[in-house]
Structure formats: C-alpha cells, structure tokens
C-alpha cells in the first residue's frame, strides 16, 4: 500500500507554492509564523484547515504545519517517515485529507470586486502550469515506493494492482477535491452536475478523470488476471463496472438532490447575511447623505464627493485611511481637507511604511501644503504624490491654480515658512516650493527614514 498520498513529504517544501507565494504570507514557508488561513481574527477555537495555496497533494501537511506552528518541512518528513515505517502516515494523511475542511477557499476581496467576480464580469483566475516539478517528483517517489515494496514483500505480490488502483482513486479524489463546494455552482448558484465532476473544466480535469478511471480499470484487470485467463479477467472487470454503474444510478439522484438542497440552503443563508451587511452600509452612508443633500442642496458636491470616496474605498478596497501607515495618513489627511474645503484631493502613493514619529512632520507639512492649495489656488483639484523608498519619503503636492511668487512672500506670513519649510528643516528634511503666478504650485517634501526602520 505505498502510493501517492505519502509523497508530499518527499519533495522539498516551498517551491510548489511559488506562484502564489508572494501574495500569501504563511504556511508555505518553513518557519513562518502560524498564520492559519482563515482562523486569524475569528473568535472561537482555533481550527485546522487544509492549505490550498501551499498544497502539493492535498495541502494537509502545510495546513497542519500552520495549525501546529511548526515548519512545514518537519510535518512532511514526519508523514513520509511514518509512511515508510508501516504506512501509518498514508492512512493519517488520507484521513486528514477527507476530514479537514479546505481553508482559504473563501478569499475575501472588496465587495465590489467580489460581486463582479461572482457575476462573471471579471476575468477568471488564471491557472498556471507551475506544478509540474512536484507532480514528477511525486510520480518518481510513488514508483520508487512500489519497487521498494516489491523488494521487501517479493515480486508480484498484490502490490501492483493495489498501487495502481489506489493511484486511480487518489486521482479521482483529487479531482473531486479541486472541484470544491462553491465551484460546483454554476453562474446562477444552482449545483451543476457537470461542474461537480469537472470543476472548472479544462483539459487537466478531463485528463485526471480519464487517468483515474483508466488506472482503476487497469488495476481491476490486473487483479482478475492473477486468477487465471483473459476471459475471466474480462468478465470480472465487466461485472464490477456494471455493479458500480448500478450503484451510481441508484444512489446518484439521491446524492444530487441532497447536494442541491444543501447548496440552496447555504447560499440562501449567505445571501441573507450579505444583504443585511449591504443594507447596513447603505443606510450608514448613501441614505444619510441623500437625506443631508435634501436638507442643504448647497453642500451637494462636497457630500457627493465624500460619499464617492467612502463608497469607492468600501467597494474596491485597497486604500486604507487609518493612521498607522504613511499612505493611510496622507489619504486620511486628504479626505479631511476635501470635506473641509470642497476641493478634490487625489492621493497617489507608491510604496508604504509605518508612520513613525520621524515621519509625522512630512504628513503635517503635506497637510499645510494641501490646505494652502485648497484655500488659495482657486482650482477644484489638488494632486498629492507620495513615494516611499527604503531610504526616504518624498511627498509632492501640486495644483494648477493661481500660483504666487515665493520670493515676494512677506516674512511675516507664517503658513509656508513656518509650517512647511521650517518644520521640515527642523526634522532633518527639506522642503522646496516651486511656483510662479499663473503656473500653479508644487511643494516638494523630502524626509530621510531612520536606518533601523528602513
């Protein structure tokens, strides 16, 4: 009984996860902290999941590694050692594969993006053939195990048919596993029998199914051949296939109905919850805003702009506006100025880092610059560009408004000199103001980051 499920232990761990590795911190890297895919913030007991991102076979080892907070390589070695010593590892692995729920299959993107994905209005996930290496390693290992078993138990024991049969079952199981629950549903949310079997379709799943069935039939034939002649083998094979077919016909519709009802109930529940969430959000945002606009039409543009910003960040995410990072702080600052002065402040940030005390002056100076632009430039739009590199933070605030002559500004005007130039210089940075009447203004702020935080 040496067969494929053991094999994950054999290949050195991380490469299989490479395609997604950059995006998902966590289980794929040995020694990474225990970042259980979904358990993170959820209350209640910590649960183990199979890790579908770092998987080589079923993702059991990497999921277990994340759960136990040990390097995934150890888990894989443990599996292969216990598999070689008597096969307990295989049984354990197979059992966990069946019983552990798949983790991180509900990737949560921003609502707008998710909705568009569900409605088929975004391109689907692109699958890459990055996994050929591990598959070949698995194959080699499986064949090696069979040879090893033959040398131990003697030539021609039951090994080959059983090994082939198990490989077939494993292939079919893996196919069914890949076609995980919600992928069974077609666009309208009904269970689609074809999708249950084929998953997302494509030649890979057809190949897997064909190979799995072929392997099982081969195993049957081989097993029957051991009893005697070809004709007997053929009869036995046909009888078994007919038997399986009969059972499928009897049980199939019942299972189908069961899964349909299950899926209906489940999606109904999810839909209800989502509807409640959306309703709550719309009430808090759009409805309140509309009510305000009816009371004071003069503020319509400002309110609409604030609402758009809010809704956009809720729907399409990405942009945080909390004060913990410098980009977030700049966006929060821009939002405040927008609300207060009724101009549009467009923030583009490249790179990001934590907002430390040394960086606060840059944000404060940027706020002053944006406020100046909003007050004096007389244009509806201000651009803010921030670039965070390993060594420094640069912030540019630009408008295309009236402009002024920096040299002609009286000494007693404290806004520019005190709040921007002097402040930046006090904290070891520089500020440069380029402006000419009629040509708009650009304020350039530069601040070096601390070495230890870089």
């Amino acid at each position: 009984m040496r067969s494929t499920p053991t094999a994950p232990a054999g290949t050195p761990a991380p490469p299989a996860a490479a395609p997604t590795g950059a995006a998902q911190p966590g289980a794929a890297q040995p020694g990474a902290p225990a970042a259980a895919p979904t358990a993170g913030a959820a209350p209640g007991p910590r649960r183990a999941y199979r890790d579908l991102d770092g998987q080589i076979v079923g993702g059991v080892a990497s999921g277990l590694a994340a759960h136990l907070a040990v390097p995934v390589l150890w888990v894989r070695i443990a599996f292969i050692v216990s598999a070689v010593l008597g096969g307990a590892g295989i049984a354990f692995y197979a059992g966990l594969w069946v019983f552990l729920p798949a983790g991180s299959q509900f990737e949560s993107a921003a609502p707008g993006i998710e909705s568009a994905t569900r409605g088929g209005r975004r391109p689907g996930r692109i699958r890459r053939l990055g996994d050929i290496g591990p598959v070949m390693a698995l194959g080699a290992l499986g064949i090696g195990l069979v040879f090893a078993a033959e040398s131990v138990f003697g030539q021609g024991a039951l090994i080959w048919p059983i090994a082939i049969g198990v490989a077939g079952v494993a292939l079919l199981w893996r196919q069914a596993d890949e076609a995980q629950r919600e992928r069974w549903l077609d666009a309208t949310g009904r269970v689609d029998p074809a999708r249950v079997v084929l998953g997302d379709g494509g030649w890979a799943s057809y190949c897997r199914i064909a190979a799995g069935l072929g392997l099982m039939v081969t195993a049957l034939v081989l097993l029957a051949l051991r009893g005697g002649s070809w004709s007997l083998a053929r009869d036995v094979t046909i009888a078994v296939i007919l038997g399986i077919g009969g059972i499928a016909i009897v049980v199939g519709p019942w299972i189908y109905r069961l899964t349909t009802e299950l899926a209906d109930e489940r999606s109904e529940r999810v839909r209800t919850q989502e509807r409640a969430d959306v309703a709550a959000h719309l009430h808090d945002s759009v409805l309140q805003t509309l009510a305000l606009i009816q009371k004071s039409p003069a503020d319509a543009v400002r309110l609409a702009r604030a609402q758009e910003r809010d809704l956009r960040s809720w729907l399409f995410d990405g942009d945080t506006t909390n004060d913990t990072t410098i980009a977030g702080a700049l966006r929060a600052m821009a939002a405040e100025v927008e609300d207060h002065w009724g101009v549009m402040v467009d923030v583009v940030a490249v790179g990001d880092c934590d907002l430390t005390e040394t960086l606060r002056p840059a944000v404060a100076a940027a706020r002053e610059a944006v406020t100046n632009a909003a007050k004096h430039a007389g244009v509806p739009r201000v651009d803010v560009y921030a670039e965070v590199t390993a060594g420094a933070v640069d912030v540019f605030v630009r408008d295309r408004g009236a402009g002024f002559d920096p040299d002609a500004t009286p000494e007693d005007r404290m806004g520019v000199r005190g709040s921007i130039i002097d402040r930046m210089q006090r904290h070891g940075g520089t500020a440069e103001i380029r402006s000419a009447p009629g040509d708009g203004t650009e304020v350039r702020l530069h601040l070096a980051r601390d070495k230890e935080e870089a």
């Binding site: 950059a22 993006i113 409605g119 088929g120 209005r121 890459r128 399409f316 583009v348």
Partner: protein, 215 residues
C-alpha cells in the same frame, strides 16, 4: 476626420450618459458608431463597426473587459481605452496587461474623455496619475503582478522619471517641459512602459515584435 468610437458598458444609463457627453464635448472630433452591453455583443459590434477606439468597461458580463480584448478582432487597428468605476490595482494592471492603451475612471469630465480618446486613437497611452502610481508600484514589486519577466521588469531611469511626473499630476506637456524633452519622447516612454507591462515573457516580446514586423 472624426474618431470612430464604440461604447461598451453593461449599464444602459451610463452608456447613454457617455454618449450624450461625447456628443456635447466631442462634436466633430468623436463619433459614436456603436454600443454594446456584454462581451458577446461587444465582440460582434467591434467586428462590424470597426471603430478606432473602444471605450471599455472593466467589469462586464461574460468575463470582463479583458475578455473583449482577447476575442476582439485580432489584427484590426482597434485600440482600447478602459473606462471603469473600479480603481482597484488588480483591475487597472490586469486591464493594461490585457491590452488596453489607457485607463480612466468614470468620474472623468467630458472634455478630458474626448482628449483621452483622441490621444489613444493616435497610438499614445493615457496614464492618469493613479494609473502611473500603480505602474510604479507594480514594477517596484509592491503589487503582485504574477510572472513578470525579470529583464522586462525594469523601467529605465528615464521611464521611471516620466512615470513619477505623471503620478504627480503633470500633463504630458508639462512633463516634456520639466525634463527638457519633446512631447513625442514622453509619448514614446509611455508606450514602452505599456509594452513592458503587457508582455510577460521574452517569448511574448518576440511575438509582439514580429507581429509588428520589427524582426
């Protein structure tokens, strides 16, 4: 000679609005020759109307705007300008990598849109500050753009400079003035940035070059 445009968006109301806006601010410059509401109708409309520029919604029934560009008449001289309410990085970068020559959000004003359409129709790329920021981010590795080839991955120093200025809100003309180069050079830099974004491997680069009879 006016630029022939097809408007693709699944919201009929928005389509009407865009067409009215184009008629108002782009009279004589832009000529709407067709509209479509999903991937299938878009592909057939583009095939029959042979527009110069397609205004393409990113989120579209049938697989999104990227699917339209994938299936839309290969070899035809049609350019795509993405017009979307979403400014999520993955949508923007994904659409540009899918072959769009520019990306603008739906809050754009009529005259700006007309300007963007004419620029795209002339073969230039339209980069908004936000898009330039995403591009810089993507090349800096902050956004996970899968399988970008190492060699293509690097913007030249000049291209980076141009992108920075665009991200700071400069217009093409202002960029040219700032860097003491011609507008044409700025446009060349933008096009090569676009090319680097769309191609993910040397293999594709070769195909791209041979498609344009450069090899």
């Amino acid at each position: 000679m006016s630029v022939k445009v097809v408007v693709v968006d699944d919201h009929g109301m928005f389509r009407r609005g865009v067409m009215a806006e184009l008629a108002a601010s782009g009279a004589g410059v832009v000529d709407v020759v067709g509209e479509a509401e999903d991937v299938d109708t878009a592909v057939s409309t583009i095939a029959s109307a042979a527009p110069d520029v397609v205004l393409l919604d990113v989120h579209l029934p049938g697989g999104g705007g990227v699917e339209v560009m994938r299936r839309g008449a290969p070899g035809a001289d049609t350019r795509y300008l993405a017009l979307s309410v979403s400014d999520a990085a993955e949508d923007v970068i994904g659409t540009i990598r899918g072959g769009a020559r520019g990306y603008v959000t739906k809050t754009i004003t009529g005259p700006e849109l007309v300007d963007a359409i004419t620029r795209v129709s002339e073969g230039d790329a339209v980069f908004s500050p936000r898009l330039a920021g995403f591009v810089l981010d993507a090349f800096a590795g902050s956004i996970d753009v899968a399988d970008v080839d190492e060699d293509l991955d690097r913007l030249t120093e000049r291209e980076r400079e141009v992108m920075r200025l665009i991200a700071r809100g400069y217009s093409y003309k202002e960029v040219a003035k700032e860097l003491f180069i011609s507008i044409k050079t700025v446009e060349t830099h933008m096009s090569s940035v676009l090319r680097k974004l769309q191609l993910s491997s040397r293999h594709e680069l070769t195909r791209w070059a041979s498609d344009r009879r450069l090899l």
